[in-house]
C-alpha cells in the first residue's frame, strides 16, 4: 500500500482521445509534488506506455496492481 495522497483518479479503461498518457500527463501537470494520480487501464501495452512515460518524465510509479479485470497504477509527481 502506498500512502501517497491522491490528487485525481482517471478511468482510462475505454478508448479516449487524449489516451491514457494524455490524461495522466494533464493530471500530473496539475498535481503538487508528492501527490499521486491513480489511473485504471485495461491492457499490458498501455501499462508499458505508462512505465515508459514515467521514466522519461521522472515521475514515480508507486502502485501497480490488478483490480478485477483492470490494472491500477498510481503515479507520484516528483517535483
Amino acid at each position: 500500500m502506498s500512502s501517497v495522497k491522491l490528487y485525481k483518479s482517471i478511468d482510462s479503461t475505454s478508448a479516449n482521445c487524449a489516451g491514457a498518457i494524455g490524461e495522466l500527463a494533464g493530471a500530473i501537470n496539475d498535481a503538487y509534488a508528492g501527490e499521486g494520480v491513480e489511473i485504471f487501464i485495461k491492457d499490458e501495452a498501455t501499462r508499458k506506455d505508462v512505465y515508459a512515460w514515467a521514466k522519461k518524465t521522472r515521475h514515480k510509479i508507486v502502485v501497480d496492481e490488478s483490480v478485477g479485470d483492470k490494472l491500477r497504477l498510481v503515479v507520484e509527481k516528483v517535483a
Partner: protein, 381 residues
Amino acid sequence: MLVAGGGIGGTIVANRIAQKLSDEMARGEVKVTVLDRSQKHYYQPGFMLVSMGEMHPKDTFAEERELLDRRVGLITGDKGTITKLNPADKAVVTADGSTHNYDYLVLATGSHIQVDEIPGFKEGAQTFFSLDGAQKMWDSVRGFQGGNIVVDVAMLPHKCPVAPLEITLMLDDYFKRKGIRDKVNLHYCYPVPGVFGIPNVNKMMTGVFDQRGINVHSQFTLAGVDPSGKKITSKEGESLNYDLLIAVPPHKGAQVLGDSGIGDRRNWVPTDKYSLQMKGHDDVYVMGDTTDIPISKAGSTADYESYVVANNVSVDAAGGGSKRDYTGSVFCYIATGLDQATYIKFDYTHPPNPPTPSQIHWWGKLAYNRLYWSIHARTII
C-alpha cells in the same frame, strides 16, 4: 430547471427537455431556463474552417433566442452570467446579484482556452480556438510564402482532440494547391508519444503524416514560447524555430466552477460516466466539455449526452419512463485535407475504426456544419 450555459450542449438539452415535458410546461408545472452570459451562440467547429478560409466568420454564430424552443426561457448579459454555484442550497447567483433557485440543474458551461498559462504563448502563437484567433490565422496562412510552420498542442485534454491533426493536414493540402508546399516545412508537436492518443488512429495518422512529409516531434510538452526569437521549447529539452506558430492552448472548465469550489484544479466537474450526474449531487447533471470524464470534449459528445440528460432529468421531474445510461458515444469527422476526411465513432466498449479518407466524409463534415443551425441545435432530429 436551470441550464447553466447555452452553448452546444445547453441549447440542445434545453430543447430536448422542452419536447419531452411539453405537457408539464404547458400546465405550468415545469419551467426550463437557460442562463448564458451572451445572447450569441457560437458554433466553435466553424472556427477551424474560418482559419483556413473555408467559412465566413459570420456563419459561426447566431442569436441564441432563435435556436431555443420558444417555451424555454433565456436570460443573458449580467443577469445570465453565473458568478456562484451553490449546489447545497440548490441556487445559482448571477452577476446582477440575483439568486436563481432550482430543483434540477444542468451544467454546460464548456471549456475555455488559457492563453496566459504558458510564457510567451499569447504574444507568439496563433490559435484557431477562438473566432478572433481564427480570423487572424487565416490572414497569416494566406500571406505565408515559405518557412517553418509549427503546429503545437500545449496540453491534453483539450476540446476537439482531432483538430490539431486536421489543421496540419489542411495546411499541407492548402500549400500543395498553392504550389509552394516545397517551400513550407510542416512540424507537428504533441505532448504524448505519437500524433494521437488512440492506438489505431495514431497508427493510421502517423502513416498519413509520413506520406505527407510532416515532421513529428513527440513527446513535446510546451514549456515556453519566445516570440522575439521565434522559438518554442519543450519540457523535454527540445527547441524548434518557427515562422508561423499555430497552437492549441491549455484548457480549463469555466472559472465560476473553480470560484464555487466545484471541480478539480482545472475546473472539470466530477461526473458519473453513465448517469452524467455530478458526483454527490443527484439533482445536478453535467454534460459536454464541463465533465471530468476522460472522453472527447466535442460537440457530438454533448449531443449524444443530451438524450440521456434530457430523458433522466425529465423522469426525475415528472416521473414515468425509465432512466438511461450514457454509453460513451462519440463521433468526430477528421479532415485529412481540403476535400477529404475520415471519422472516428466509438463508445465505452467499442474502440474506433476510422475508414480510408474520402471526399464523401468531407461533404459529411461540411453538411453537418451547415445543418447545425437548422437541424441539430433546434433538435429537429
